[in-house]
């Protein structure tokens, strides 16, 4: 019976994903995906930042430690930042924090993308892919821990 329950639980596992998007590109892309009625899984909760460069890697750590199964970031394509070079700086920080997370085997739970305002479809597809990926990984090892 125990086996059955775990199997059932696995089937029912719906990952919680925290997303950080920049106001000018990906947030608008998410909007476009909505207005053009593209369907994507409802696992991600989006937090809007004004720019990629606002993403303090501590946000990522905090989300993961609070039990998020996945975290993603998405902003304007490099070279197309609304504030000219915000995402260049962000890219360096993301690379650094992913290197750190990799040490503890958590790097596959933090992904980042570049999705512009016109790429509503890409946004929907990315969300679909991400939800599947995280579902495959299973619940975060930090979920439910007393931290």
């Amino acid at each position: 019976m125990g086996e059955e329950t775990t199997k059932k639980e696995e089937e029912e596992f719906e990952p919680k994903i925290v997303g950080f998007t920049c106001n000018w590109c990906t947030y608008a892309a998410a909007d476009l995906a909505g207005t053009s009625r593209k369907k994507y899984p409802p696992n991600s909760r989006i937090i809007r930042l004004m720019c990629s460069a606002r993403l303090d890697p501590m946000f990522v750590l905090k989300a993961l430690l609070n039990g998020a199964d996945g975290v993603f970031f998405s902003g304007c394509h490099p070279g197309e930042c609304h504030y000219i070079k915000g995402n260049f700086y962000a890219r360096r920080r993301i690379a650094a924090i992913r290197t750190i997370l990799k040490q503890f085997g958590l790097d596959n739970r933090f992904k980042s993308y570049w999705i512009s305002a016109s790429e509503g479809e890409k946004f929907a597809n990315t969300m679909k892919g991400l939800a599947e990926e995280i579902k495959e990984l299973g619940p975060s090892p930090l979920r439910g821990k007393v931290l």
Partner: protein
């Protein structure tokens, strides 16, 4: 490179000369206190008494850069210290925590160091200088060198403004590395600089090979569970932050209400989550610090020395920092002109590290 070969005993005169000729207003250098070695700050040249062998002694107390961190003053401070301390000072200059013009950085060759208290307890056995054979010998007697020193591959005096290089026998070569260093040395009367070509590439290779072997033998923290186990005894005293030369925020996030919730705030969080570990934010604190020092950590091991619970923090901070520094091809403290990785960018880079 401009330099001069001296008897090691002549270094006393050199330091006195620096103070005498006002090349520096004050000198911070190691001196003997009984069995031990500690830093002192000297303005009166007569207080310098036989600085050798104290400046070479294989003992680590505090990182000298941590002493002058945040001193934005007009006076000039000379710092005589091990290469890791000098590299930390250079990072602090880049972080605008110190003025380049207000410090004269003098690095000395390092043989690796023992914890301050270990050195004091076994000063006679350890002596004034160690080599790898001696280190192994002492290990047999359960006198272990600091792990940070064991894996260090940058312990030659080739950073800062002036380098003090040990030669075979009792001689040292003092070289001016920067213009400021050369100028300071030329101000001293009894010293005449000549062109010195010292090639130490063989020595560097040997040290790097030894360090690499030790580094690979270090136990890795490779999962969340392993990290939790590693930090099991941590009481979040934050002494590792206090003693870290490159942790420099005026007010740490973990001293503020969000980072260190108390009273009703903490109660609310506990209610939200059902249960919460206290002292709060242990894992968050360490992971944040790993990120904050990731590009500037010089691997001096001061964090480990400072830990009252004897957590071997060298296996956490310097080890992970090196991996981050690798992706930016950045060596902290190597070049004062090289911008900090997070203050610069290339238009096309790192795409393979994002997802």
């Amino acid at each position: 490179m401009k330099g001069v070969e001296l008897k090691s005993g002549d270094l006393e005169g050199l330091f006195k000369g620096l103070l005498d000729k006002k090349a520096v207003d004050c000198l911070i250098l190691p001196h003997r206190v009984g069995n031990n070695v500690a830093h002192m700050m000297v303005t009166d040249k007569d207080k310098i008494e036989s600085p050798v062998p104290a400046i070479f002694a294989p003992s680590f107390s505090v990182n000298a850069a941590n002493i002058v961190k945040g001193w934005l003053i007009k006076e000039k401070i000379g710092i005589v210290a091990k290469p890791c301390e000098i590299r930390a000072a250079i990072e602090l200059i880049k972080l605008k925590q110190m003025d380049k013009e207000s410090v004269l950085l003098i690095s000395v060759d390092c043989s690796g160091a023992f914890k301050n208290q270990d050195y004091a307890d076994h000063a006679e056995e350890i002596g004034d200088w160690v080599d790898s054979a001696k280190i192994e010998g002492l290990k047999g007697k359960r006198i272990a060198i600091r792990e940070a020193c064991e894996i260090c591959d940058k312990r030659l005096a080739d950073v800062g403004d002036i380098g003090i290089v040990r030669q075979d026998g009792d001689n040292v070569v003092v070289v001016g590395i920067t213009d400021m260093g050369v100028e300071a040395l030329s101000a001293i009367e009894d010293i005449s600089l000549e062109d010195k070509d010292i090639d130490r590439s063989g020595e560097i290779e040997k040290i790097a090979a030894e360090a690499k072997k030790k580094k690979e033998a270090l136990p890795e923290i490779s999962s969340v569970e392993a990290l939790e186990e590693f930090l099991r005894d941590c009481i979040v005293c934050k002494n590792c932050r206090e003693m870290c030369p490159v942790c420099y925020c005026k007010e740490c996030f973990f001293e503020q209400p969000l980072g260190k919730p108390v009273g009703g705030d903490l109660l609310n969080i506990a209610e939200l989550r059902g249960a919460i570990a206290v002292p709060v934010n242990q894992l968050m604190y360490h992971l944040t610090r790993v990120y904050h020092v990731s590009t500037t950590c010089v691997g001096c091991g001061a964090c480990e020395d400072a830990c009252p619970k004897d957590i071997p923090l060298t296996r956490l901070y310097p080890v992970i920092a090196e991996k981050v520094q690798e992706i930016f091809e950045y060596v902290p403290g190597k070049d004062i002109e090289e911008p900090l990785p997070f203050t610069t960018y290339e238009e096309e880079e790192l795409e393979d590290k994002l997802r």
